[in-house]
Symmetry: D2
């Protein structure tokens, strides 16, 4: 029989917060709001804690647990996967981070032309003893047009691609589960907080529309994060959020950014 | 006179934690342990907070403040830069993140052949009202050889490049400054925690030496973070650290990792 | 009616080789060797030439053509997509580059445990007047163990993850189509050219097996590209190839590489 | 004495085009046009060919040769480094690729405020038997404003950061050296081919200036590459160029691009 070094004792008396696998590519299935399944490709990080008296972790078990569930990695299945990781790896806490491109069919504002557009999304699920955590993140490209540039110039205004990143945690519902928040909802919050949405396919009538929409609706990065914050604060399902906006400035070789983190005050 | 939109009031009553510039490339000078100056190229993020009643920040002032100090960005000059940012931008807090490659001349273990090797490093400095913070980070490549693979095989053992990332905060000294910790010291801590150091230039006698050194000294990612943790805990100057080790597994297409965060208990 | 600037004449007398869209993310379906469809996510570059007398291209048409075919982007459908691009954009040449992760179910060598593993792949299709071109590329991670390190050391040998990149063009068959070469075949060529294959899931018996397999089979980067070259030269379907091997050296912070480009001599 | 495996014979009869080191970080000194030295950090690829009868290359010699010349890697010193690589590695051809950020002090158009701005640059030098080659590349960020968006909208126009990449080879002068072309000259060619230059530091009067400059000067990606091509074709020192422009479209999540490659016709 082969020696099990990982299972042997360790006497340095130092516990490890997280140990596991990272940069693992895996095909996954996501449920979208229209209750259809979307197949995509994820990059995963999976870990457990390691008590101070154990020497090592059995890394292959992460892949085995994932393989059992490969049909679906969603907010609803993550708790089961996490419980299984804890059991199989004899750990007190387990954590999974899943990053993936997610596609939504977008409709051009005037012509009605449609095409899929990609959004970088991520879930982070964690169980630690009896408590658990779930975070949803979305990165949404938007157009941002500079209010200062518009105000001080006789004509025109610099604008650029902005990236709005929103991460949320849901309030706990009666039965203890976090409130369900859809990727589609966060995309809408971000898109209505910039100068204009970004589209995969625009015909000329659409381009005219978004050009003037952006000019009519100038925002600083500061405005974008405040607009997002204001909408999320007024949504009772949101317990916590972090929002960041980054403008890939068209007049500079660096970017401008703003960031707000917020937790709903307990009543 | 041109309108100052950024300076106009805002009534959404939402303060912003950080607003500023990011992905800014800048030539900087770092002091190394031998008290010589090292010229390198940094990527910077600079930000301040924005009280809820101000609409925007004057982004160009970040660059202006940086330009005044361009000769030097070090643990000793950062407090001055941060104070100036607070003053010039009328803010309560300011934060600077500086990431740069840093070179150390390395000597091969047998032949004595020397060449410079690069280490990714970063400083994060922050002032917030009367308090301040300083964090130093270093990423160090090492060789890691798998103890399990060695133990269960008749010969050989898989090994790979591992990356050990250490971030530290220093204990406060009598006059309130954080204790000075050198990049060179953290590199040494990381390199003695893997199976063997990594070198820029090895002749055949050196390659023989490091091959056998690694085989004689197998470590899991778990061992690497514990080895680092143990050394830092016994160094009285360290108030807090976070250490992460990532093995770019030579037998897998994903990586293994481990992570420990620690704060010195108050006496 | 809105002005069509792109369609207006240009008098600089400078033709453009390629004009189009790049960094376009799109969900695609690939046919795999077992004749099943694999859904994945691609990054696309699509372009046409632009004669000197035209001012601009209608970029939205690239997305429209792609959307018509979104069900499938394969070696067999690419010619149709390219022909349509030429027609719709009134161009003489058209080119598509499709990059995507592709998953293969891999079986561990001793335990038989299975899990999917990802391979970066790409197609480049081009039509130019009456002629056409098709290139298939695959990047395959392998284990490489250094022959020099093994030969000069009393025990052990440094090894690391190596990346073998193969690009091929097929010989023309009777009816003019390039010979069909499967991703699965190029993966096999690469994996049998390193010291040992890389797997997504290995149990301890498997780890023992691949550790000793790699030690028994040391290769330089030079050997890896020659091994691949030798196999491809003896495969009559191959008209041209380029192979590159990169070793992420476990004893250095830089990589070693080798590269061969070859064209079958005409008879 | 240790065995020299790399120097042993190989009987597969397959020559290798390039073998060497890549992703090597190294501090370098560049000569700028004002004849001052600029210290920066390079990423290098260095290689030689390998005749079919040799088994391997002595990789450490690349680092040794580089170390001898570390004070300077320029168009004028590269030929010497390449000759030395050929000699030390007993090869017929040698090739060096050096990529580095290069800083130029930029002056804001109205306020005169100055700050350094970074440009990604590269040299590729090659000797092959008696012939040699030298290529200079520069990537320059610019503002590009869409002519179509301006023409079809009642007000405003979408604009964005564009990246103009220029690579050139110089004509041979009387004594056989390629004509000297400065990074500063290619930066100027790129910046005058977009809608407006991009600056590191702009005060409000400057922002007003570049906003209107861009609006007055709309360009498609097609125009940008043609503008660059036209300037380079009329410069007798240029023997060959490749120019690419990529617009990070502010209304899309993908980019638009155009590309021209050109060789001066022999007289």
């Amino acid at each position: 029989m082969m020696v099990d070094l990982q299972g042997s004792p360790d006497d340095r008396k130092i516990a490890i917060d997280q140990v596991g696998v990272t940069d693992l590519k895996y095909p996954i299935v996501i449920l979208d709001r229209l209750h259809e399944k979307q197949q995509t490709v994820a990059s995963l990080t999976m870990s457990v804690n390691l008590p101070h008296h154990f020497k090592g972790t059995h890394m292959s078990r992460f892949i085995e647990v994932l393989s059992e569930h490969r049909g679906e990695v969603t907010m609803r299945t993550l708790p089961t996967v996490l419980k299984q990781l804890k059991a199989v790896l004899e750990a007190e806490s387990a954590r999974i981070e899943v990053r993936f491109p997610y596609f939504l069919e977008r409709v051009a504002p005037v012509s009605g032309a449609t095409a899929p557009m990609d959004y970088d999304c991520w879930f982070i699920g964690e169980v630690n003893g009896g408590s658990d955590d779930f975070l949803l993140g979305v990165r949404v490209p938007v157009t941002s047009l500079c209010p200062c540039s518009k105000a001080i110039s006789d004509y025109g205004a610099h604008n650029q691609r902005g990236l709005v990143t929103i991460e949320v945690r849901g309030e706990r519902e009666a039965e203890g589960h976090p409130a369900l928040i859809w990727i589609e909802e966060l995309v809408a919050v971000a898109e209505t907080s910039g100068s204009a949405p970004v589209y995969p396919l625009l015909k000329r009538a659409d381009e005219r529309h978004v050009t003037m929409q952006a000019y009519d609706n100038p925002v600083f990065v500061e405005d974008m994060v405040r607009n997002v914050a204001s909408k999320l604060q007024s949504d009772d399902r949101i317990a916590w959020f972090r929002v960041e906006a980054v403008n890939q400035e068209s007049i500079h070789n660096h970017s401008a950014f703003a960031r707000i983190e917020w937790k709903r005050p307990s009543v």
